[in-house]
């Protein structure tokens, strides 16, 4: 199996924060911007998803560029 690049694991973070975090975030206090904590937690996770996926995308682009300039013409671990 192809090795999973380290930064791809980053993409699992928001999902884990939702699936594993909700049991602990299930409360009303403290309010964030007037919202109950549970809702605020979820909104935070959604925003984080966007941020994290942008970062992962950027890192992948960079890696693709590096690989292209470094050598094999087939590209960054992708089918030609």
């Amino acid at each position: 199996m192809r090795r999973v690049p380290l930064h791809h694991w980053l993409a699992t973070l928001p999902g884990l924060l939702i699936l594993l975090g909700v049991p602990f975030a299930n409360r009303v206090q403290a309010r964030v911007l007037g919202m109950p904590f549970l809702l605020a937690w979820i909104v935070g996770c959604v925003l984080l998803t966007s941020l994290v996926m942008a970062i992962v995308g950027r890192l992948d682009d960079e890696r693709a560029r590096r690989t292209r300039s470094a050598g094999p013409p087939t590209g960054p671990g992708r089918a030609p």
Partner: protein
């Protein structure tokens, strides 16, 4: 006509016009009609995908659930985010494959990957079945919007008929281009309206978000957090998980990925879509704002909350605009769904059945089916009574059943077989259909189980059934299914750990040292290897062995030792020597050392065993009535014992010899226990037992770990006598015969076993034969629950092994206990059966990890061990 309705009509006209305009200058081939010629950039794909995802469901269902249920509605915000992070990795893979092979629909993907047109038909049907509730909810939304904004001038049925006609017309005329253009309009509208309402309403009625939530919390305490039961955290997490996996399994969502120009599109969308998702937040605010302003909407009525509160707050013109936004959120996805459903019916259901049909015919049929599908949806819309969110969840549960098959298809060679995938999907879908038709929930089926388990979305159960069947059938229909089986074993373990709690009372592996239990000296392990095979004389083995015993519970054993050979000849079975220990969850533990040697070309068999155990288990009493009653007392027993045996070959496969056993034991009652189960006097606390024995065996098996032919017959007698220092005088006999055969392909082995154990004299209870204990471990009854002076048992097992490391089994049999041989004819028959999976631990020797689940008269029991039961 009031102004609101006029605005609504205007927007309907605009969306129709857009659909027709989009069509100009293009020839409507199937390729153009269904995937837009594969030329859509990030913006259009984004809009198309948003178009399907932000639907009436979000607009009316999202606010309706916030209004009616509170915090559980937040799940809608979560699953999208998770699905988008998955999409970053998943969609490019799908897109590349679809583009290379010029695919149109989701079913095409499965057909191509698994090389199975039949699978395509099945996937299509599942997709269409799931799309119907999705379409129904759009029409329901349309009906609500149109009739509400008409201020009662139009009835819901009239509104539904008008909208569905418009929908059908523009789908037929312009296909996906119509959807994309209307999507642009729709997205501007929904964004504007949702955000405006979500900010304005809380401010207007409460003076801000904070005061609004405080007022709700005061009026309905606990409404803003997940409840402890029902739609609890457990429901929430399982639902988010399932729906995020199902997100792209919708046929229209799946095939809209095909419209992308490059895979870069998906990478961008993964970052942008979650932000767009936040529109939902404002939809929730609107629903929450409605709670105290338009109270009293219950059940499916809650879906009206957004429009009701809008009508309260605004004049008809504004209500008309809000209604128009709602109209578009139903039209765009509605058209997409209609188109997808009719395309797959024509292309993936009809075509495989009528192979000679031309492209032209299929294309015409696809368009012709649009009104048909629409009519079916209209029927359910006007007949059914469900609220919007449960409808979508039902659809989600259906499509999610496709996820395991998709995942296993992604490697270059699919990890499952078409038959396995189809069987899995059918099982999953049937489970969903059955649970929703009979409205069975886990909480109703298992009222005693903790809410953490019973609140799980029932789709999880269907998913597990799906995966198990997928793996077993794949394994049965294919040689190399190793990965899939290994994955399933892990899933099965994960699942059964919580569910196996049902039997956490329990008996020891070693209460019955006389015929086996843990440290039976008999499975003199060995595998014959072809002559000249280059093997080490000494193969070290070290294994942590998880185990699940019916009395001791889950535990971990550690075993270290070697499979070794005294002869250089590899055609002789090897010897085994190990030391090990175990500890289980009920605080039982033990240490043991075993050597099973074969000397001088297997003409001598020498066996030795020494062990110390300290085990906790339940004693149920003696006799079948005691077993049926199921009352028990908890005992603690320590044992120190040793056994040595010498057998000599007298002719091919026949060995005869003698043995000596000595043990010292102490049995004590722990506190508690049921009245009416007395510990037999004299059996407690201490005893020293010594016995000489005779043994004989006829062994023609080809392998000791995984025999495929031959048989093994055994006879043993032990004679406990005070002459050698034993404190009790009694005799113990055991006879058993196991027989193996295989189908020509050798992949399927049939094993049969019959055995009888008997005791006579002054027998302590722990030396009595008991069902489930001993070397032919009968599965399905708690060890030691049924014990008496005589026990008979017969069982059969079908064992399948892949050419890799995986295997699966199914078994059934019965046992009886009685005070004497003559009483057997009147004894209760104890039937049991079950299924299991196997994983071969070493490449060289077919020794397996064994996971079995067996059902007996009283309960179902899980077994996890190393080596076969018989």
């Amino acid at each position: 006509m009031n102004p609101a309705l006029a605005i609504l009509a205007l927007f309907l006209a605009i969306s129709l016009a857009l659909g027709l305009l989009a069509r100009r200058g293009r020839t409507m081939t199937l390729e153009q009609w269904s995937v837009g010629g594969r030329g859509f950039g990030a913006v259009f794909v984004f809009l198309l995908m948003a178009g399907e995802i932000y639907t009436t469901f979000t607009f009316l269902g999202g606010s309706g659930w916030a209004y009616g249920r509170g915090a559980p509605a937040f799940y809608i915000l979560c699953y999208g985010a998770i699905a988008y992070s998955i999409s970053y990795f998943l969609l490019p893979v799908i897109w590349r494959y679809a583009t290379t092979h010029q695919l149109h629909s989701q079913a095409d993907f499965f057909v191509r990957k698994y090389q199975s047109p039949a699978l395509g038909v099945l996937v299509s049907l599942v997709g269409v079945v799931a799309l119907v509730p999705y379409l129904v909810l759009q029409l329901k939304g349309l009906g609500i919007i149109v009739s509400e904004t008409s201020y009662g001038a139009l009835s819901v049925p009239a509104a539904v008929w008008i909208s569905v006609t418009a929908l059908v017309v523009y789908v037929i005329l312009s296909g996906v281009h119509g959807s994309a253009w209307t999507a642009v309009l729709k997205d501007i509208m929904i964004l504007g309206v949702a955000v405006a309402l979500g900010i304005y309403l809380p401010w207007r009625y409460y003076g801000g978000l904070g005061p609004m939530f405080e007022a709700i919390e005061k009026a309905k305490p606990g409404f803003l957090t997940l409840p402890a039961k029902g739609m609890s955290v457990s429901w929430f997490v399982s639902t988010v998980l399932l729906t995020s996996l199902g997100f792209y399994m919708w046929p229209h969502a799946f095939s809209s990925t095909y419209t992308a120009k490059s895979e870069q599109v998906f990478r961008k969308n993964a970052a942008v879509m979650p932000l767009y998702q936040l529109v939902l937040l404002f939809v929730f605010f609107t629903g929450f704002a409605a709670i105290l302003q338009v109270p009293g909407l219950t059940g499916a009525q809650a879906d009206l909350s957004l429009l009701k509160v809008s009508k309260l707050a605004f004049g008809p013109v504004m209500v008309g605009l809000i209604g128009a936004a709602g109209l578009l959120t139903a039209l765009v996805p509605g058209s997409m769904i209609l188109m997808t459903a009719s395309t797959i019916l024509a292309k993936n259901v009809y075509r495989p059945l009528a192979r000679s049909a031309s492209e032209e015919t299929i294309s015409r049929l696809a368009r012709g089916l649009v009104p048909v599908v629409a009519l079916v949806a209209v029927y359910f819309t006007l007949e059914g009574g469900s609220a919007i969110v449960p409808l979508l969840l039902l659809g989600y549960n259906f499509v999610t059943q496709l996820f395991p098959s998709l995942l296993l298809s992604l490697p270059e060679k699919p990890l499952a077989t078409p038959a396995g995938v189809m069987a899995g999907i059918v099982t999953g879908v049937a489970t969903i259909a059955w649970t929703s038709l009979s409205s069975i929930t886990l909480a109703k089926a298992f009222p005693d189980w903790p809410p953490v388990i019973t609140d799980l979305n029932v789709g999880i159960v269907a998913m597990i059934a799906n995966i198990v069947v997928l793996v077993v059938v794949s394994a049965l229909t294919r040689k190399r299914a190793r990965v899939a089986v290994a994955a399933a074993t892990m899933v099965a373990v994960l699942v059964f750990v919580p569910t196996s709690r049902a039997d956490d009372s329990n008996v020891p592996i070693a209460t019955d040292p006389f015929s086996g239990g843990i440290p039976t000296t008999d499975p003199a392990g060995g595998t014959v290897l072809p002559a000249g095979t280059n093997v080490d004389r000494f193969t070290p083995v070290f294994a942590p062995i998880p185990l699940k015993n019916t009395q001791l519970g889950w535990g971990l054993g550690v075993m270290a030792g070697a499979i070794h050979r005294f002869d250089a000849d590899t055609t002789v079975k090897p010897s085994t020597g190990v030391i090990g220990g175990f500890y289980t969850e009920n605080d039982s533990w033990g240490l043991l050392a075993v050597e099973m040697a074969r000397l001088a070309h297997d003409s001598w068999r020498l066996r030795g065993l020494a062990s110390h155990c300290d085990i906790n288990y339940d004693f149920f009493g003696i006799g079948e009535d005691a077993g049926n009653a199921g009352q028990s007392i908890p005992l603690n027993q320590t044992l120190d014992f040793g056994v040595a045996a010498v057998l000599r070959r007298v002719s091919t496969g026949l060995y005869l010899g003698g043995a000596l056993m000595a043990m010292s034991t102490k049995v004590e009652l722990q506190s508690g226990g049921a009245p009416g189960v007395p510990l037999p006097p004299g059996d407690s606390p201490r005893a020293t037992l010594v016995a000489p024995g005779i043994q004989g065996e006829l062994d023609t098996r080809d392998d000791d770990y995984w025999p495929t032919r031959g048989s093994l017959a055994k006879l043993k007698g032990w004679f406990f006598t005070d002459g050698l220092g034993s404190t009790r005088n009694f005799q113990r006999y055991m006879g058993g015969w196991t027989w193996y055969t295989h189908l020509p392909a050798r992949q399927l082995v049939i094993a049969g076993n019959a055995n009888l154990s008997a005791a006579s004299g002054d027998v302590p209870f722990y030396a009595l034969p008991s069902v489930g204990a001993g070397e032919y471990a009968f599965r399905g009854y708690e060890q030691g629950r049924y014990r008496d002076k005589v026990m008979v048992c017969a069982q059969a097992e079908a064992r399948w092994h892949s050419s890799g490391r995986a295997g699966a089994t199914a078994f059934a049999g019965f046992a009886q206990v009685a005070p004497s041989v003559g009483d057997l004819s009147n004894a209760l028959v104890l039937p049991a059966g079950g299924i299991g999976v196997r994983y071969q631990m070493t490449q060289q020797y077919p020794m397996h990890l064994r996971l079995d689940y067996a059902w007996g008269r009283n309960e179902g029991l899980l077994y996890f061990a190393v080596a076969e039961a018989f």
